[in-house]
Every structure is written in C-alpha cells, then in structure tokens.
C-alpha cells in the first residue's frame, strides 16, 4: 500500500470522527467513489464510532424540551394536514417536475391579505441592505427587526444556490405559546404563508430554512402566529427583510 493510500485511510478515520475540515470532506467523498479499499475502511471503522455515544454519562432530558419539540412538530403536522390527503403522495404521473411538499403546501393556500401595512408601524432596529457576497456564493442580506419587541434583535437572510436561510439573534420567545412563521411577499401583492414555523433557541438565536424560491419575492417576513401557523399574518412582523 502506498503512502498516499495510508493518507486517505487516515482521512477516513478523521471523517468518521467529524474531524475533517469541510474542503477535505468533499475531496474524500470524491475519492471514496473510486476507491474500494477506503470504502471498506469506512465500513470497518464506522461501528467503533457509532459505539462512542454509549460511553457518555447517561442524563435525563428536561421535560420542557419535549414540550417545545412536540409543539413545533404538531404545528407543522396541522399545517400539512390542512394541505389535504394528497399532500404527501407522489402522483402516479407527473406532467411537470414534482414540487416539494412545502411548495405545494404554500401554493394551496389562497392568496390573501394585501400587502401588510407593517413597515410604517415598525421601529426598525437595523438598516436594510445587502451586506456581502461570500466566497461560496452566499449573499447576506441584513433584515430589520422590530425594536419594540426585540431591542437587541438582529437578523439576516443568507441567500445561496441551495436555498435561503433566515438567521437571527436576540429574539424573544414568541408570546402566548405562539410560534414564529415565515412569510414571502411579492411587490404589491399579499404576503404568502410558508410552512416554516420555528421557535428561538434558549439564547434567542434561530436559523431556519426559507422554503421555496425567492424569485419574484421582494420581502421575507416573520410574525408570531398560533400553533399550526396562519393563512394571514395576525400580528405585525418581527422581522422584515428586503431581498433586493
């Protein structure tokens, strides 16, 4: 076996342990496609790594954590249920490429509410603007956060080839047992709901995938809504991001 082969096999171990930097992960995955020896090493070492969690001190998960997770899951299930029995089924024949469940869910909700009369009522904490385009083609857009509800709140959109994420810090828990919901708005049209419902982490941060394409969308909004989400925003937006 050559020195190069040993190097790749060592990289397999580091990969399984989560210790390979991202660029080396991609290189290793490409190598694995064409190297049966390294694939065998991967299969051989994986059970040792899979066993490692068993070595930690067993702890009880806090009951409140269960409540939070189930509240969000149930909210999303209600939304999916509202989309109808076919929402999770693949059509036998498709005339056009299958759209994601979330996209179909979004499309099923009728157009509603005319452009939210929101901006004028907001005290905006952060100026709106495109910040930067990163090395990996991710464009960062700073969002406005309602200063009254979240004095220390900050939020941004990360728009990349693989989709868009909303990343926020300093947000309060949604009031009154509500959850946050992401909305997409086209210029001069009503805001459209998405299936993206989320709760903030204990430190007030959140990172949520924005469903669907931003093509034609000029604003991404976040409001606090009842569990299961709403068809129409029931509150002023907490976060407002202009995509262009």
């Amino acid at each position: 076996m050559s020195e190069q082969d040993h190097t790749w096999r060592d990289s397999v171990a580091a990969y399984l342990l989560g210790a390979l930097p991202e660029d080396e992960v991609l290189a290793l995955r490409m190598h694995l496609d064409g190297c049966a020896t390294c694939r065998r090493t991967l299969d051989d070492l994986r059970p040792a790594v899979d066993a490692l969690p068993a070595a930690v001190t067993p702890l009880e998960a806090p009951p409140a954590l269960r409540d939070r997770i189930m509240a969000i899951a149930e909210s999303e299930a209600e939304l999916l249920h509202a989309a109808g029995p076919d929402s999770n089924r693949t059509p036998a024949r498709r005339a056009r490429p299958r759209r994601s469940l979330r996209a179909r869910l979004q499309a099923r909700v009728p157009g509603w509410l005319v452009a939210a009369p929101v901006a004028a009522c907001l005290l905006l904490a952060v100026a709106v603007g495109v910040l930067a385009t990163g090395d990996e083609g991710v464009r960062s857009v700073t969002a406005s956060v309602d200063r009254e509800s979240a004095p220390a709140g900050r939020a941004r959109l990360e728009i990349g080839r693989d989709g868009t994420r909303l990343v926020a810090q300093g947000l309060p828990d949604a009031p009154g047992g509500r959850v946050y919901q992401v909305w997409l708005k086209r210029s001069g049209e009503t805001a459209e709901p998405t299936s993206a419902l989320f709760a903030v982490r204990s430190d007030g941060s959140a990172s949520v995938s924005v469903p669907g394409s931003l093509e034609g969308i000029d604003q991404v909004l976040v409001t606090a809504e009842p569990r299961g989400g709403s068809d129409v925003p029931s509150r002023q937006p907490l976060v407002q991001a202009f995509t262009s």
Binding site: A14, P21, V56, L59
Partner: protein, 190 residues
C-alpha cells in the same frame, strides 16, 4: 392504528414519514436521553445541549424520509444527527470557550434514574465501550476524544498537541481499529 409503543423504531419511521406526531413522540421518548447525554457531553452546558437536541429532532421530524435502515439502526442515525448538530454548534459559536465552565458537576444532579431492561442493557454496553476505549494507548484515546466529543478538527488537534497532522490522523485510525477489534470480541459489534 397499531399500538405504536410496541413497534420497532424502524417501523415507527414509516409513520413519521407520513407526518404522524405520535410515532415521532415515541421515537423522541426512546432516544431523548441518549441524545441529550451526547449533546451535553459535547457542548458542556444544559442550554446549549437543549438547543442541539431540539434542532436535531426537528431535523429528524422534517427529514424522516432520509432514514435508510440499510445503513444502521434508528438510534445510530439519531445520534449521528445529534453529533453533527453539536459540532455545528461548537464551530459556529462561542460554546467552545464557555463549555464546561458553568455546568460542571451538573451531571450528578440529573443523571438518568431509568432502570428498565433496555437501560440495563445500555449500561452494559456503556461499560464495554468504556473498557474498549480504556485499552487504547493514551495518545490514541486522546485524539478520538478531542475529535468526536470535542468537535475539534485534525488541524486544531495537531496544533493543540503540537504534533503533525498526519500523526494525529494516523492515531485516530489506529485507535478506531483497535476499538473495533475490542468491541467485536466483546460482541457489541458484528
């Protein structure tokens, strides 16, 4: 509707894929302890561990279709997701510097008190895995510890231990090979 609590994890995943929250709840209850324990071991504070577990299980809820039983048990899949999320948390935040600062000693106060047969079997497995790690030369167990539980990259570990990256990666492989052999002898892995 079958009694979900009697179904195997792999069967429950069928229902989770169809957005059944009751099935998801059973999966959560079966693996919440292991998930929280691993997350806490990695990020070192209770709040951060809760965040990691919340993100991991919501990811599982939303992507249940990605579970492939040919690649291992649901438990292994769940804990793999928790591990990835914990590494993400460690690398994107200041958790690294804060870890184990405020919650040190908390383990004793909320250690699991479960005494079911399944728990007893897991405790046996835990002893075996710890024993297997204990057979490793210290330089091998150290790099495995820093990588898997510490979330450090090989580059960071090499800098920490003042050793070449190649040496660090070699220790990882040798350690895992030895561990695998020990676990095979003990009957924990095939």
């Amino acid at each position: 509707m079958p009694d979900l609590s009697r179904l195997a994890d792999e069967e429950l995943m069928h229902f989770v894929r169809h957005n059944d929250t009751s099935a998801f709840e059973v999966i959560y209850d079966r693996h919440k302890g292991a998930a929280f324990s691993l997350a806490y071991r990695m990020v070192g504070t209770r709040n951060a561990a809760e965040d990691v577990v919340q993100e991991a299980f919501l990811s599982i809820w939303r992507s249940g279709a990605r579970y492939d039983r040919a690649r291992g048990s649901v438990r292994t899949w769940v804990l793999g997701i928790v591990h990835h999320r914990a590494i993400d948390a460690l690398r994107r935040s200041i958790v690294h510097s804060k870890r184990r600062a405020s919650d040190e000693g908390l383990e004793e106060r909320f250690e699991s008190g479960e005494r079911t047969d399944a728990e007893a079997a897991r405790r046996d497995e835990a002893r075996t895995v710890r024993a297997a790690i204990g057979t490793l030369p210290p330089e091998q167990s150290r790099v495995i510890e820093l990588a898997y539980f510490g979330g450090f990259t090989h580059t960071e570990i090499a800098a920490m231990l003042e050793a070449p990256i190649g040496t660090i990666k070699g220790r990882m492989r040798l350690g895992l090979e030895k561990m695998r052999a020990e676990l095979r002898v003990a009957g924990v892995t095939p």
